[in-house]
Symmetry: C2
Subunit: 379 residues, 2 copies
């Protein structure tokens, strides 16, 4: 359906094995894929200025429907000119549907055919999120890429329970599609979410049903919730080949650098994850030589920066000794610098993968990078 609209589209540029380079067109500009979307939960990528997110190389950010519906409220953001203006991000924005956060954060949630009734984790106020309301909120926010409401289960889940949730999510996909057709602006796009836990057959049925509805993009949901790296990859291997080659594929909530490399190798185009910023706030730095824990006393006298070759000032210009001091002292600047450096590293990693795929050397790049990332830095 969205394929006919003027301003959303996916163009496949190059393939190398299952890995692919492409470009998504949106009303707020292009997204180079494979893309990592920094997470701006409450309308801000935590501890970063929007200019830093852009300069780090991010084309698109994610914002959370659940958080923004509770505070400051989607009607308020719409009145203020939409989420792009509100958060000063003029690039593309993808919003999730709120389903995952309702399951992980909200209180007293009740799932029914109609939707999810829950209480706010902020003040206990009652709310109802239906497939239609989730779309309405995302349209009020003005999201370029919107997600259907789905039911997210914790893993491991009983097969019967996984099947019930997957089938409910299919019916919600149909309702989301109808609401989106009524409410969205030209050029915006709605993605469907393949569910089915780690059961290959359920995943296949979910994918086939959603493909029949012809969405402009497909997400794989319900992974990275504790099933482990290998199970996640096996699930991807079962699902991705079913998805249409001319649509972007988005693996939700993933992940660590190794997850990104292995998932790109299996044909994924889009990712989001809180790891670079959340771990930055906790003193962890992602670098080409592995993850460093800046709380570690071994950095107290280390004059070296995180990465002298980085284009990011946070990684290049500040000593590990200073970062260690800031982290140990609980200073804002520690969180600011490590969140910034990690955001930049994630974008460098995606850029490295895009270049390697375009040049037909992805397997070598992946192997060499995995070796570098595994290097033990800390003594």
């Amino acid at each position: 359906m969205q394929d006919a609209l003027p301003r959303f589209g996916y163009r496949l540029i190059a393939e190398d094995g299952a890995a692919r380079v492409g470009e998504i067109a949106t009303p707020h500009g292009p997204v180079r894929t494979p893309a990592f979307m920094p997470v701006g939960t409450a309308g801000t990528v935590k501890a970063l200025y929007p200019e830093q997110v852009k300069a780090a190389g991010a084309d698109i950010v994610l914002a959370n429907t659940y958080h923004l519906m509770l505070r400051p409220g989607p009607e308020r953001i719409a009145k203020l000119g939409g989420l792009h203006a509100f958060m000063r991000w003029d690039g593309p924005i993808l919003t999730d549907s709120g389903g995952f956060q309702v399951m992980s954060l909200a209180k007293l949630r009740q799932v029914s055919e109609a939707g999810v009734r829950f209480q706010s984790h902020l003040d206990g106020s009652p709310h109802m999120l239906s497939p239609e309301r989730a779309i309405e909120i995302q349209c009020l926010l003005g999201a370029d890429i919107q997600m259907q409401l789905d039911e997210c289960l914790e893993l491991p889940a009983e097969r019967g329970e996984a099947q019930r949730a997957m089938e409910l999510s299919l019916r919600w996909a149909e309702r989301a599609r109808a609401a989106f057709a009524r409410l969205a602006n030209p050029g915006q796009a709605l993605f469907a979410i393949v569910q089915g836990a780690t059961d290959p057959e359920l995943r296949q049925r979910s994918a086939q049903a959603l493909i029949a509805m012809d969405f402009p993009g497909y997400a794989i949901g319900g992974l990275a919730v504790g099933e482990g790296h290998d199970v996640m990859l096996r699930t991807l291997e079962g699902v991705v080949p079913l998805l249409p080659a001319d649509k972007p594929r988005y693996l939700m909530g993933v992940g660590a650098p190794l997850d990104l490399i292995e998932s790109v190798a299996r044909g994924i185009d889009m990712f989001d994850c809180v790891l670079p910023t959340r771990n930055g706030r906790h003193g962890l730095a992602y670098t080409w030589n592995g993850r460093l824990n800046l709380k570690n006393a071994c950095y107290a006298d280390d004059r070296a920066p995180l990465d002298a070759q980085s284009m990011c000032p946070a990684a290049r210009d500040y000593s590990r000794a200073y970062l260690h001091h800031l982290v140990k002292s609980g200073e804002y600047l520690g969180s600011m610098l490590l969140s910034w450096a990690n955001t930049a590293f994630y974008q460098e990693l995606m850029g490295g993968m895009r270049a390697a795929i375009a040049e037909g050397r992805f397997a070598d790049f992946a192997e060499a990078t995995k070796r570098r990332l595994a290097a033990a830095q800390e003594t």
Copy 2:
């Protein structure tokens, strides 16, 4: 003594009533006075990048000897190349002596003729701060302007107690001077601190004794500790006229914008205060139209920025509605933007005062600014 050294000096440029414009030369460059020094307690002006502090117009920052001696330790900072390199601030740095923080933060403190024995507020470890060790630490940090150790009393204080502390501080000034002569690098300067609580005669005796020792700069300590605006100004009126016109005068720990204006009017050249950054972290914004509490619900739908005319992006480019949302949500970016905007406002205020003094219109500027700052913004 320091007057003979090549790289510290004070040049009086213009006077307008008691207010004065001047320039302090230091080994790390000039300081335009009257100057407000942003406070970088633990080697970082909280929630700001050093580049933002500089771009806001600050020539010099203050760092706290007490905090840095406990963590990461002055010997460590010296080994890492000094505080300028450690915190990436290549302009002048003034360090306090640690005396005030020992009184306000440390545990089990015991003042004797030798110095102050105390326990760290971080881990309870025992420490001794003597006049000599305070200088040694400041020299290890590489501070351009250093402060003598003094004994800071809480106000109100008994006259006998105030006299005892003032006289002890005079003896400590003499010892600090001897240690500084032994340890300091050429061009660095040691300031003395006038004490004596709010007693005019004690203040006068303190000032005269310190002037006889011929320091390159004089601070007024022990104010802004609860005595109130008017008592502070009366104390300044008693002390400042005694101080030599060819030396800079530093009012420690002050203050709110109104305090700065009234103190400049009475001949003060230098200030430091945590208010712009601490209040920024608590949702308060200083603007030319008064102080705004961004937590206030009246800003929830306010599209206006803090100050459309500001040169500071934080004050100019983000809506009050967004700032309100960030503050209410406890987001880093709220603290970052308000600390930045407040730091920039304080520097704009100092720049405005310097220009007005240089042009002989300080009284008009002060009156007009006080009227603007008193404007009630919040309904």
